[in-house]
């Protein structure tokens, strides 16, 4: 702390005319993939191309919640590994990612929800992930601010308590990974826009950017909410992705009052207290596809109505800031990770919806392995694009999801 400050992700450098790997997007999945490519596979000649600044998109707009209580066996191990990586990365990167391992409390408001939770919990326990179904009283002991009376719109029947989850400082992950990747030689080019991808003889040959053309044999597009549009524009691949604006907000800072992440499907709301003391809360997606990241009057009001019911003490607290980001939703709410399939040397990592943050560490690791070896690791195989052509959705949600009338 007494040392002179040095640029954390290297000095600004000129864009070279060729790189082994070009990664489009300067978010978490890109940074993590670059980091692991460099660290575990010795691939260091990498350019990350970011139109704005690192962490501009979903990486800086999420509410930083991490957990591994997904629904199916294809997903749980991936998220479990991601969860296990936070302390490891903190050490490796020598950067405090501020993992607050406070546990997640997912409220259930009906018998049907309890049943759904039981399956998720059984799946977690079967895979060695701690998660329990607790009743309303036990939930109240964990979160004294909870309103467990019958007299609210959605009375609380119980909750899924998932102690290994919690909150990680999202910005720190961006900066930490950028620092770690840059240290190993990865070049991060901010304020640089990727414009096109060139192919030659059926494989990737170049990337055109606003600062010149780069020759390369491997390209990864992991540009969060913008991936689907970029992949269509540059590669002509139409993905079953609907992009929607999702909003989140924070209250003014308070002394500790919420010790766990609390979420509720019925109220469509989650809340957790950041280390700075703000109550961060969100969950709502616009009901129609759009790229606006605009806030709506309706939503902040809805959120207030929800919080006033299940965390009524917050009625005395003020909202101070709301913002929007993008969620790129697939029909089965599971991501698309694929490579060398549509065209040799082309990789994609997208469709994360609102799970992109919690998964980034493990995905970076496996995407790096995929790109370095040209072999898809078993962990990623279920997420190939082909599953949609075969009408084999993943069972990540119990109920059908609807973003547009044709799903």
């Amino acid at each position: 702390m007494f040392l002179k400050n040095k640029p954390m992700w290297g000095k600004k450098t000129k864009l070279k005319s060729s790189y082994d790997v070009v990664i489009i997007g300067g978010g978490l999945h890109s940074l993590a993939t670059a980091y692991y490519l460099a660290k575990e596979h010795g691939v260091t000649d990498i350019a990350i191309i970011e139109k704005n600044y690192i962490g501009f998109g979903g990486a800086g707009r999420n509410t930083a919640i991490v957990r591994a209580n997904q629904r199916t066996q294809h997903n749980v191990p991936l998220y479990k590994e991601a969860l296990d990586l936070w302390p490891v990365l903190t050490k490796e990167l020598d950067y405090n990612l501020m993992f607050n391992n406070c546990g997640n409390l997912n409220l259930m408001h009906s018998e049907a929800a309890m049943k759904a939770a039981r399956m998720t919990i059984a799946t977690a326990q079967f895979h060695g992930v701690e998660s329990h179904l607790i009743d309303a009283k036990e939930a109240k002991e964990l979160v004294p601010a909870l309103n467990i009376s019958e007299d609210i719109t959605f009375p609380i029947h119980g909750a899924m308590f998932h102690p290994p989850g919690g909150v990680v400082r999202h910005d720190a992950v961006v900066w930490g990974l950028a620092k770690g990747a840059a240290k190993k030689g990865v070049e991060i080019h901010q304020q640089t826009e990727a414009l096109d991808i060139g192919t030659k003889n059926g494989r990737i040959s170049s990337v055109t950017t606003s600062r010149g053309v780069i020759n390369t044999n491997q390209v990864l597009i992991s540009a969060g909410g913008y991936s689907a549009a970029l992949i269509y524009d540059m590669m002509g691949i139409k993905l079953p992705i609907s992009v929607l604006t999702i909003q989140a907000m924070v209250t003014q800072p308070l002394k500790p009052v919420l010790d766990h992440v609390v979420s509720s499907g019925a109220y469509h709301c989650y809340a957790n207290q950041t280390l700075k003391g703000e109550i961060a809360t969100g969950a709502h997606m616009d009901p129609w596809p759009n790229y606006t990241t605009l806030n709506t009057a309706h939503y902040i009001k809805h959120q207030a109505e929800a919080l006033s019911e299940f965390l009524p003490c917050l009625r005395g607290v003020r909202f101070m800031r709301i913002w929007g980001g993008l969620a790129d939703m697939t029909p089965d709410m599971a991501p698309i990770m694929d490579g060398n399939e549509q065209i040799e040397g082309f990789f994609m990592d997208c469709g994360w919806g609102y799970f992109g943050f919690k998964s980034c560490s493990a995905v970076g690791k496996y995407m790096a392995q995929f790109m370095a070896t040209d072999q898809c690791p078993d962990m990623l195989k279920p997420f190939a694009l082909k599953r949609y052509e075969e009408h084999k959705l993943m069972g990540e949600t119990a109920a059908l999801v609807n973003y547009s009338p044709d799903n």
């Binding site: 400050n5 066996q73 979160v143 800072p253 009625r315 084999k392």
Partner: protein, 975 residues
Amino acid sequence: MNRLNHLPTLKVDTTDKIAFIYKGKKYYGAKGDTVASALFANGVRIFGRSLKYHRPRGLYSLDGECSNTCMEVDGIPNVRCENTLLKQGMVIKEQNVKGSAENDMMGFLDKMDWAMPAGFYYNVMHKPAMIWPLAMKQIRKAAGLGKISPDYEMPGKFDEVFLNTDVCVIGGGPAGMMAALCAAEKGLRVILMESRPWLGGFFEYRSGVYKDRQTLHDRALHLANEVKAQDNIRLFTHTSAVGTYNNNLITGFQIGKKEDVFDERYIEIRANSVVVAAGCIERPLIFDNNERPGVMQIGCALRMAKTYGQLPGKRCVFSIGHDLGLEAAIELHDLGLSIACIADIREDGQDTVLLKKIADKKIPLLKGWVATKAHGRKIVKKVSISSIDGQISKTFSCDLIVASAGMTPVTGHITVALGTLKYDNHTGFFLPDQMPEKMYAAGRIFGLNDPISIEASGMLAGLKAAHDCERGSTGSLGEIREAEKVMTGLPGPVRGTKLVTAPVKGRKSFICFDEDATIKNIKQAIEKGFDVPELIKRFTATGLGPGQGGIPGHNLPLYVARYQGLPDVSIRPTNVRPPLVPTLISTYAGVNHKMFKTTPMDEMQKKDGGVFRNIGVWQRARYFSDDFSCKKEIENVRNNVGMLDGSTLGKFRLHGPDAVKALERVFVSDMSKLKQGRIKYSAMCNDDGCVIDDGVVVKQGENDYYFTTSTGRAGQTVEWIRYHTRYDGWNFAMVNLTDSLGVINLSGPNARKVLEKIVDIDLSNEAFGFSEYKEFMIADTIPIRAMRLGFVGELSYELHVPASFMKSVWIMLKEAGKEFKIQNFGVEAQNVLRMEKCHIILGQESEQRTNLLDVGLGFLWDRNKAEAKTVGSVALRQAEGDKTRFKLVGFKTENNSRAPRDGALIVDDKVRGYVCTARDSFSLNEAVGMALVEAELSQIGTRLEIYEDECGDDRIYGKVVAMPFYDPEGKRMKM
């Protein structure tokens, strides 16, 4: 404290005392005081301590720009005392202090800043890893300002209104009032929102000359009276506009007066056009200890005297960069403040009249000078000033420093609505560049300072906004051109100062008060590679505190550009986000509505002991006793007769020449052979072949069909059918009858005997058999559509009754059933009954990836339909023969073990499926259930290993058996 009396601008009535409690002791303020002005009058100078360094903080601004005066008021944390009106009996406490704000034991942290450079917490506290959880606990305790108790109950009444208007004007100063008056004169409906409790804005507290002999204050009064006299201006004072959204949707909140029925009220306005005349706040001057209690902005010092009748200090030094500073110095001097010196950042360009007055009053004025350091451990005792180049300096003892670098336009309403700003070198402002559609800026936002110019600009904006509402009329175009011409003849925007910081190193020069971020922190961040303001904001938290960008919003981008030596064109403002004023959650919540639909039988079922649950958009009776296994309800249906309210079912009429085609597009079955009087059970799939809905279809007449959907899908059905026929041009129409018809399900072996008593038609099995449909009247009055169905596996009549007659029919059936002891049954009993019969409920025996074939409904699918292109058929063809898919199976448990819980897994070394519904069946005396399992495990006789949550090493075992479990031949429902 003796207050200044007889000032025409005063808003306090010192004869009307208001008692309040501060730190446990009783004090008095005057009527009209804010909490802060009352405390100030009682000698309080240190209001709280800062977030990180626990530095003392005092009154700095009056419009809530920072959290300096945030206190706990009546249990509510983070209340901005500087613009919260004092009320009788208020209880006020300090926040974020150990001890008191005066003597805070955490004050030593101010000396520890060397150990806490920007982002220090990212670099320490994780080595070794074990210290982090402990450190985190301390961070959490140290962070946060106010406190709220988990069982806090917010008092007060909160209201909400939703309004519609032609023109909405934000800001009740001279420009806003002019705009409102202009629009109102056109006969338009106008709403005017002003955040202070009174109109007048920039004119209201000033005694300078407006024109001739009229003072600015008098002019403000005059305009305010005109506004109040206009019937078509709806005036909201003490109302902050906090959000501007698409198509000019404006939100805000109003603070209630004593006589109002609300304490705060959420306001949402849909306006045709909007005028933003929100004026300016001051750009803080950055120098060492620039937030020490005793440092105040110009407006704060001046209004403390003019509005609240209190001289803000005894001896004062001004360090300013705007004529308002000179004006304030003159006024405060005349009111008795001793002014040691005025340091004006500007070398030249001051208003000559003001300069002359200052000279006449012999107030020392140094041009090109600026404050560099406030001295005094807790409150200001001295100040150092220097020439801007830092070469010469002087020190004065004083107890007040009036400091301000210039003005900052309040543009949040514009940028939040997606308007853009551009840095303007003349004013030093981020000026409106691209305005949102039908939104106009007016007044000081442009850097105007001349009173006449300000009003003229308001008039112009009002005319433009009005023109937008006149629906194509060009009437006011001429007036607009005229007003534009007038503007060009008036004084334009004034030159702003460019100075960002005094010539200091900046270790204790705060750019953001709320987050204790100094100039040094910003430098550290830039050196670390955080080179754009948005990143610096994140890294140093600048502008992310309770006051948001109020203090650093303007200075941060200016400073970052200057430090990096960037040209003006690259200076971009930081993002401003709603709510533009922090808003209580209870205010946003307003009046919480309950939004559930209830069936016509709601009340009667409640009387009968129904236990209700929210199911989708409905509230339904799930149980009729405390026994949630529903033994009695189930046995009654199996052996006697029961009634269920099925009104939530989706019910639709679909008719027209192309009705069959439309039905066949969405339903998987062949509908062309459907005979009148017969019922067809069918299902709908989505494009993935996944089954999304099931229900029955009946033919009511030629090209006229009636069908039902599941409760959950009813809301989407019409859109679904429309969407999937959108290119066909078919001629058919749909009517959603869900709410206009109720449904009674009369089930059990005695059902016929009960129904016979109230209807005239022949109900014998020969006359009205299973799977048949009939329409008839009860008592020549009530039209009934009746279906012989068997969802629960017994003799059943599903009666579709006009909602208005539901109660009557219900009562008739109850009366008729008395001799059999007819009983209600609820949704859970139905769930068990149908499960025993292996009738599926979508969502329970299916998940989003489950297709029609998986649940065993493949027989419904007609693949040879002529014009079909049935939704999902492509996917279904692909799925045929796919052995990797899940299949729905029935199972019984081994060794009389209990039923597993719903959601339990079917496993071996991995997950192979899961239990959909399983119950200890009273009808069968054993545990049965349905599960979705991998096809491999679906053979009859396969042993299933069932893994429940919390089971440890214990397993339940089951065996796949034939379905259904109960009455496999279906005799009972056909009897």
